[in-house]
């Protein structure tokens, strides 16, 4: 069973209900060595960080 994939798709559906119309990704260096589950695992980390409000201050990025 693709636990991470299913977890993300559940979030995706919830967000579609809130008006999400598009989502795109910038692949990292390891993307071609990863599996679908690896990808969605990292995506779920992004969603978790966002929902936890764990924002990193980056004054160097302008």
């Amino acid at each position: 069973m693709n636990i991470e994939t299913e977890k993300f798709l559940q979030w995706h559906k919830q967000e579609q209900d809130k008006g999400l119309i598009d989502i795109k990704f910038f692949p990292g260096h390891d993307v071609d060595r990863s599996t679908q589950e690896d990808f969605f695992r990292e995506l779920n980390l992004i969603v978790a960080a966002k929902e936890a409000g764990k924002i990193v201050e980056r004054p160097d990025v302008f």
């Binding site: 598009d22 692949p27 990808f39 992004i46 990193v56 160097d60 302008f62």
Partner: protein
Amino acid sequence: MNDQTSFENHVRPIDVVLIARDVIQEYQKRTGEPIEFPVPILNGGILDTISTVANIDTIDVECLKWPGDIIKGCVARYQNKDSKASIWYSSSLNTCWSRFVICKEAAHLLIGDDKNYTTDPVALVNGLIDQIPPGVDEAIDAENLALYCAMELLIPKVSRDALYKMENEGLSDYEIAYELKVPEQLITVRLNPQMRKFLDDAHDNLAL
């Protein structure tokens, strides 16, 4: 996902060059100043102009803590009564990569429409993992087009002379990248003979 049948994308690389040109011109009109280098993105930089050109009410940019090995960043676009987009990038990225990732994800907002929106995230992810060639799926092709667009936003035509001058003076790709605050690989791609010819022809022939 298209069933592996080749097609012509409705957005072409030349369209992307024109879109980036519009953003830079609109930025200069808004600020009343020529664009400076490194190109400013946040805090009144080109992201505000992208918001106007893409007709999106709000674009939030957040740096979040995740490894970034498989995904450097992502963008989610919402349309309700108001339009909104969120760009997230990994805290593992350095300054130059962060700027590039933000720009590339913002480029999706400029070139995105209902023909290349992601309707099937699993198909998109597998397309990215398998690195399927252009002409198979518009959502995947949009990744390459967004890369072109980000390159044109961060190294616009008005910086071309300065770029080639630095190259002619013998600066390495890394040194040029450091000046423009972009990833070294972006300079390598921009100075590649094929890319240089395509962009120089586009700039000159379209009087950009």
